[in-house]
Amino acid sequence: MAAATELLMLTAAQMAAAVADGQVSAVELTRAHLDRIEATDVKLHAFLHVSAESALAAARVVDDRRAAGEPLGPLAGVPVALKDVFTTADMPTTCGSAILAGWQPPYDATVTRRLREAGVVILGKTNMDEFAMGSSTENSAFGPSRNPWDLSRVPGGSSGGSAAAVAAYQAPLGIGTDTGGSIRQPASVCGLVGVKPTYGGSSRFGLVAFASSLDTPGPLGRTVLDAALLHAAISGHDPYDSTSLDAPVPGVVAAARNADVAGLRVGVVAELSGEGYAPGVLTRFNETVELLESLGAKVTEVSCPHFSYALPVYYLIAPSECSSNLARFDAMRYGLRIGDDGEASAEDVMSMTRAAGFGAEVKRRIMLGTYALSSGYYDAYYGKAQQVRTLIIRDFDAAFEQVDVLVSPTTPTTAFPIGERADDPMAMYLADLCTIPSDLAGNAAMSVPCGLAPEDGLPVGFQIMAPVLADDRLYRVGAAVEAALDTRRGQPFLSQARGLAGVNETAEAQR
């Protein structure tokens, strides 16, 4: 059997092949990752809950099925880090909030169920900004996760725990959710591939809602192909989610294997560049655009004039929906209960529980949303925001008449230091400037690593946006960028990582 370190460094696709060929058992593979978590998570804090027992049991099932000669899926036996916003019938689900600490759901989310059915091994539940509100995981009630590239920096958010886990080789794959950029921005700052599928392409059933019209589950991986395999595993129509699309899953895996962009029309979004973007981010972005051109893509600049309103529109719509979605956390049926002394009224207990159980950012958004929906302000805020949302969708429609995909930096900067933006919500919100338009429009978007910023040596993400249900285009372009950069570099992207991301370094230190 291969040494544990070598196992960890395989791609998910390679792990699945090794399990299928009998070179390694799913149990060995799972144990190697559990050991890695054990050794590194004290520093990283990527996981809120590790479920070694159920993970090994799931792995054993895969090994038994293989032994019995039963067919295995393309990711059978491969471990995954699951964001703690999906319900799991055998693990707690907290959404990074004190108000749900210890809550054990009685049912599996559709994403959870599909992972299990695919033989994917769920290692545990990962840290996140409380109720997915944030871009750093600093809003977790259980303490921040750290960026494996530099432990003093944030791993992005809100799916920062899943991103940190994948970047630190604790798991080859991670599941996140993207509402304003919560998959792509952490992928960008952790040097990973992260994809927000088309809204409705992956089911929200069992995903604890932040903003219903935006929330989208999606994959995180170290390679484009790995992300595609996970994307395919969790996607498809779900009758339990009314907003789920009843359409065939785009051929993302085939596209990831077909890294050909010759003749592809690529539009650079004029509005997502310039002031406020780190020089190193723009340098790597521009290089990557040139790289695509050198591979035969036809690059043009495209204007999407309403994208500049995306951030304010988002901060009206998402808080409005959240103010309603989070109303159910009231201490009556589950979760935290404060002040129930036999004298206090139900209303008092609700107030005290919500005051104690929600963090500052969640309260801020509940208040923003309550205000935006209130009588007399609805038209000016929520109503107007929905109208501008339509204009943003039309910008996309017009752009996709001219080009096949749009590109931009994923986020204006590289990973920022923990604490730097914690007291400055506006600075934090700007991290999602480039990712929010696709959430509002519901189309598909990916972040793929495009190098390190010269000034700080940290990963930069390249964002690709495709029309609704054209998710496969993301993979075609992403795979082309990945292959060309790997060839130029002579090694996979993550092998440049310092700190915890360098699995060899840790392994050496352990010797």
Binding site: F86, T87, T93, C95, L100, W103, P105, P106, Y107, A109, R204, F205, G206, L207, V208, A209, A211, S212, S213, P239, Y240, D241, S242, T243, S320, E321, S323, S324, A327, R328, F329, D330, M332, R333, Y334, A346, E347, M350, T370, L373, S374, S375, Y378, Y382
Partner: protein, 507 residues
């Protein structure tokens, strides 16, 4: 002010006749109907009544984190059926909305309802009060989910204030609930209470005919809120309205309107102003008490429900539903009245007794209309009264009543025996035939037995027999009584009488 002596100086209620002489009421009704679908509005939990608390629930109707609603298509169909029967326009595209407010019996602290895009709008329902037709405008019919049910333990009122603690049963949460909202109904004058009652009664009959709900007011599957306002007669403006909740029987609807008119007249007479508020109907006193004031109205922060896609019933589907509508109560009444040859008065009596359907089914089972009507309105109404139940709740089916009537027609039962058969059926002794057999209630038809009994009666009463022979035929009644007694009432009196006359006049 000649009437001032008749009313209390403290602004207490004014007697109805006095109130209505000086004030013009405007009423309006909001009726909630639980649909009789197999499963709930947004999940697969069954719709049942009377199950163990919190046993008919799932993550969706409990509003557990992560759960999502999926629309029950049958509920949409039923709502369209109601809308069509109420002459409404059916929206070709509409959305659900979230109504946000905190209350422990609301699993999500918002209710999925419809706000400015109801499924059905702008219809009407004709109601009849003592032969006078009123057209009640229907503003909207919309669909929403029911809430759970709070049980306040301790305290005297059963309301939340003063209770020691509260229990919540979520079995009801998520049951599809249709709300039928009337336009304001002016111009009913002294008939306002009866119009309100007649409207709810007509709506109930309609919903029952549509087979969309079991419409049991006492079980809460049909619930009524009654809006009432009054203004000085001739006033150009309507008064401030109150909304009376929990009006859960037809009689209460009538009493609630009457009592609100009396109360509001007292307030206005005393120079006060009516407060816009929610009031609660008190079944025992027949009056209303103040609830929460609407002047500090809740802001429900309605917005389109993002977890659901819009509802867009196709014109073909609506046309199919329309084509499949059953005969509606008004048309059916006209048809039955003609078929049975009843006067308007007879028809009203039948409806008021709740006997229309029962008689119709009895006739369908083969009984003559007048016989069927007599049995239900007289004998069986008396039994229902004695037992304190609705006519329809008697444990005898229209088919069984038709059987009894058939046995009478065939001469196998007389009226007295028939009443005993019904006794047996009501006592749970089985079908009419089984009761006849078990209790030995068949009419004596054996000619030998009857003949012997008649001979015996004549022999024992020679003076009576002589009178008959003299032509005083009326005297035969006394002998019939003797024979009936001798046969334990099991002879057919007409046959007996004929036999007696035959013997006395020819013998």
């Amino acid at each position: 002010m000649t009437q001032s002596a008749a009313r209390p100086a403290d602004g207490g209620p004014v007697p109805f006749e006095l109130a209505i002489a000086r004030y013009e009421p405007v009423i309006g009704l909001e009726t909630h109907v639980e649909l009789g679908t197999v499963t709930k509005m947004f999940c697969g939990s069954p719709v049942t009544f009377g199950a163990e608390p919190n046993s008919v629930v799932c993550p969706v109707c409990l509003g557990l984190p992560g759960s999502l609603p999926v629309i029950n298509k049958t509920a949409i169909e039923y709502t369209i059926r109601i809308g069509l029967a109420l002459n409404c326009s059916i929206a070709s595209w509409c959305r659900f909305a979230r109504k946000n407010y905190f209350y422990p019996d609301m699993p999500k602290n918002f209710q999925i309802s419809q706000y400015d895009e109801p499924l059905c709008t702008d219809g009407f329902l004709q109601v009849d009060v003592g032969g006078q037709e009123f057209t009640v405008g229907i503003e909207r019919v919309h669909l929403e989910e029911d809430t759970g049910k709070s049980l306040h333990v301790g305290g005297s009122t059963g309301r939340i204030h003063g209770a020691d603690h509260s229990l919540v049963d979520y079995n009801r949460a998520g049951i599809p609930l249709v709300e039928v909202v009337t336009r304001p109904i002016p111009g009913t004058g002294a008939q306002a209470p009866e119009v309100a009652r007649a409207y709810v009664s007509e709506l109930r009959d309609l919903l029952r005919a549509l087979a969309v709900s079991d419409v049991r007011m006492e079980q809460g599957s049909l619930r009524c809120d009654v809006n009432t306002s009054i203004a000085p007669a001739g006033s150009a403006q309507w008064g401030t309205r109150t909304e009376t909740k929990n009006v859960n029987s037809l009689r209460s609807v009538e009493r609630a309107v009457r009592s609100e008119i009396e109360r509001q007249a007292g307030v206005l007479d005393a120079g006060g102003r009516v407060i816009q508020e929610t009031r609660h109907f008190q079944e025992t006193s027949g009056t209303t008490t103040s609830g929460r004031s609407k002047e500090e109205a809740q802001d429900y922060r309605y917005f389109p429900e993002p977890d659901l896609v819009p509802v867009a019933p196709s014109p073909q589907w609506v046309a199919e539903i329309k084509a499949a509508l059953p005969e509606l109560p008004a048309a059916r009444r006209v048809r039955l009245q003609a078929q049975w040859g009843l006067s308007d008065l007879d028809m009203t009596a039948l409806r008021n007794a709740g006997a229309l359907d029962l008689v119709a089914r009895t006739v369908e089972a083969g009984a003559a209309p007048d016989q069927a009507r007599n049995w239900w309105l007289e004998e069986l109404s008396r039994r229902a009264n004695d037992a304190g139940v609705e006519l329809a709740e008697l444990p005898v089916s229209p088919e069984q009543v038709a059987t009894v009537i058939g046995l009478i027609q065939a001469g196998k039962l007389n009226n007295k025996l028939a009443r005993q058969v019904v006794d047996g059926v009501l006592a749970g002794e089985g079908s009419p035939q089984q009761v006849v057999a078990a209790r030995g209630l068949a009419v004596v038809t054996d000619p030998g037995v009857l003949s012997a009994a008649v001979d015996e009666a004549i022999a024992a009463n020679p003076d009576v027999a002589a009178k008959i022979a003299d032509g005083k035929v009326a005297a035969a009644g006394a002998l019939v009584g003797v024979v009936m007694k001798a046969t334990n009432g099991q002879a057919d009196p007409a046959s007996v009488r004929e036999l007696i006359l035959q013997r006395c006049l020819t013998g």
